[in-house]
Amino acid sequence: MDIRRRVRVFVFLLAASPFFFASSLPQPPQRGEELQTSDNEIGRYGGTLVVGQRTEPKTLNPVTAADAPSREVIGRMMADLIHINRASQQGEASLAKSWTVSKDGRMFTLKLRRGLRFSDGQPFDADDVLFTFQVYLDDKVHSPQRDLLIVGGKPLDVQKVDAYTVRFTLAQPYAAAERIFDSLAILPRHLLEKPYHEGKFAQVWNVNASPAEIAGLGPFRLKEYVPGQRMVLERNPYFWKVDKKKNRLPYLDQVVFLFVGNEDAQVIRFQAGDTDLISRVSSENYNLLAKERRNQSYELFDLGPSLEYNFLMFNLNDLKPGLVQIADKQKWFSDLRFRQAVSAAIDREGIVKLVYGTRGVPLWGNVSPSNRLWVDQTLPHPARSVERGRELLKSAGFSWRNDGQLLDSKGKVVEFSIITSSSNNQRSKMATIIQDDLSKLGMNAHVVPLEFRAVLDRVFQTHDYEAAVMGLGGGDADPNPEMNVWLSSGGTHLWHLDEGNPATEWEGQIDQLMKKQMVELKYSRRKHLYDQVQEIIAVNLPYIFLATPDILVGAKKNLANFKPAILEPSTLWNVEQLFFRQETVAGASR
């Protein structure tokens, strides 16, 4: 039985192999193929896009990938059912050509496109979708996205209605539920069902997998991986999008990810013209590239503030018995007036200027001003005032020694350390500026740069730190991914992890509001709830928000349809539309 199946697969592979390997030329549209027409400038075929990547992807398995480089590569080879358009930030049809939501907001019926094929030429239908969700929801697979698919404590239920219709049922209404489908890669059942049932799913599609083992519904497919050097993707000849002239996308023949090591190397390679685009550039390097732009063939884009937020936080965790010194200092940290005084003394404008070279904005809340749908515009932006900080400290019982050193009500010197990741230059700089600002209040803060893993270990596991400068957010514009941060039970509720019950009244209020907004379907009411959350946070300052950098990217001038967006992946999200214009700009002919 088993042997017969194997022979069948073998014969099939033999017959089909010319189609897989011989050509990746775009296939002409077939009858019965429900293709999506993409509204972009008509391009021309050909060319190789070279992208510099800081580190190598760790895996090509979309279900288990957790690191940014892996997701960046995998995202180009895979497709999702409903996709968040990075430019409009709205959910839009992808592999599902349409969907309907039941009145109670719990049932989603998705109509799939017919006649589509995976990049190995095998057909796609509802069984692939069912298989995909079975894998994502399997807790033995440990997918980082699994949590998103659990709504109201229950995994979402997936039913096949017919070969091209799938129904998802949620345990409770869930706001913006279509967004949970974004970036969930639909897997080829024909390739992965066997390893999955054999319990080998975690091992499949590692970086050394041969191109024939991997297939997806994205615009590109794996061609070659050279460890330590590059990963080459080639056109998926069966991709399901066409332009207005019915040319099948993508236009590019290949996408090459070059592994360059770090940001500086990325900048140097881009400057030299070795790579065609660059994303997540720091402001220093952006200014450097801008200075030499006149005689260069690239263009730079400042897309405005990102969605991430950088903040200073104090350790308010329940501590293990050994950490007496930190527990002592928590008497200051837990005093709201102390945190308000710190916040008042911090020079956010200075941070934006010195850390981001003015390419960023100061923050007083967790929602970036570029998130126009959700930011609470009425949030106050108090100017920096050391005097107000001193008044607050005075009212909280602090006093000053003759040399200006701050003392608490028991006469103890106010001194603490701020940890940051040493590999993150920008956060180290923020800490240095904060250290100087707090010295004006008489506080003695020490900056302690630690290796990133050590920071995570202290923050998440041992709670052996006093204060930290960190960053969060940036994934999506919607409030739901923020649940993890603000719910008192959340996994990134960093200032106080593993709270059994909300430790304070306001944390309890946030819990209620966040849970309410999650099941509220109407935008205006959700917005009202989330505004209240932002206000409570801004008043109680569990995090002292600092600033957010602009998203800075660059690309060759002759790269057309380049529409960078503030959501990740900011430059490659529409890679199928990119093409190189004919005109040759000096040094950029391809």
Partner: protein, 340 residues
């Protein structure tokens, strides 16, 4: 005969080191003072001729104003700011002496940044001087520790021989073959990170100093070994002198030349060791300056290619090393000519 080179080197080192000891007097600004409007300002130009072509006897500077784009500046020629000497400003402490007088300065809002400013608009010249206290101080102290250990162990091992000599010399060989940079990194990584700047400094000194005792110990052992079989030592022993007396009176004086040369060689080496550790972020943390911390700015490509004055601490380091090596050379030559 004392060569000119030696005199120049010694005078230079003395000048530089007194400038560093009296950094609070020589440096115009507090090394931690941030001017957030003036990041990465190029070195201030000192003028004698103003925009109108008039010659001034007293040197003056112009105020530098930021241009529209960040990190770019222009001299504003509207007003000259003369450079005054022995000006009063913030109080500092120099080798225990408190003073408000600074060697030179200009009136605000103009700034005199002889070596430009860093990312936070801090005066790099002041930071180099204050940083020298850490870097050179660490070099000198660590050299002291190494030589003391080397002298003790070398003398004991050479003088007693036998069962003391063997283990000490094998240990010295072990220390010689250790890759010291990695060892330093490893040792520093084991130590707690939450310690005060003073503790960090003394830890650095102790770590650097203890690692380097082997070479002086071996040299001194050799000298002690040869000296102890000289006739006058044997004679002295015959007259009933104690071991301590013989060591002090007859043997150790032979080692002074070697100790001096070793010191002149070890100091720059240890300064570089401190700089290396600080460069890798294992030394003192912000806002305390040390030459290694200052050079760490150059780890960023954008700083490396855009702001040439950020190399200034490297210049200080090179000059100090050259100075000490010249001194070491000269002493070596004198020792050889004396023994020849």
């Amino acid at each position: 005969m004392v060569s000119n080179k030696l005199i120049i080197a010694i005078v230079f080192l003395l000048l530089l080191q007194s400038a560093i000891v009296f950094a609070g007097f020589v440096a115009p600004y507090d090394p931690a003072l941030q001017n957030r409007d003036l990041p990465f300002m190029p070195p201030t130009r000192i003028h004698f001729v103003d925009a109108g072509g008039h010659l001034h006897l007293r040197p003056f500077v112009y105020r530098w104003v930021p241009l529209q784009s960040v990190y770019e500046y222009q001299e504003s020629r509207q007003r000259e700011y003369p450079v005054y000497f022995f000006v009063r400003s913030n109080e500092t402490t120099n080798a225990g002496i408190r003073t408000r007088i600074h060697l030179f300065g200009v009136e605000a809002p103009a700034q005199i940044f002889l070596a430009g400013s860093d990312n936070y608009g801090r005066d790099q010249f002041s930071r180099i001087l204050y940083g020298g206290r850490i870097s050179l101080g660490a070099g000198l102290l660590a050299t002291g520790i190494s030589l003391l250990l080397g002298l003790l162990l070398g003398a004991v091992s050479g003088f007693h021989g036998k069962w003391v000599d063997e283990p000490v010399m094998r240990l010295a060989e072990l220390f010689l073959v250790l890759p010291w940079l990695y060892l330093l990194l490893a040792v520093r990584a084991f130590l707690p990170l939450h310690i005060s700047p003073a503790q960090t400094f003394f830890l650095l000194v102790a770590v650097i100093g203890t690692i380097g005792w082997a070479r002086p110990a071996r040299l001194i052992r050799g000298i002690v070994l040869s000296a102890k079989s000289r006739n006058y030592v044997l004679a002295s022993r015959g007259f009933g002198a104690s071991s301590g007396y013989i060591l002090r009176r007859h043997i150790l004086p032979h080692t002074y030349g070697v100790l001096l040369t070793q010191a002149a060689l070890l100091i720059p080496q240890y300064v570089i060791a401190e700089v290396t550790l600080s460069f890798f972020g294992l030394g003192l943390s912000e806002p305390m300056p040390s030459w290694g911390n200052l050079l760490a700015n150059l780890q960023q490509y954008s700083v490396l290619v855009s702001y040439w004055w950020m190399f200034a601490p490297a210049l200080a380091l090179i000059l100090v090393s050259l100075g000490y090596f010249t001194v070491a050379n000269a002493i070596q030559e004198r020792l050889q000519s004396a023994s020849a």
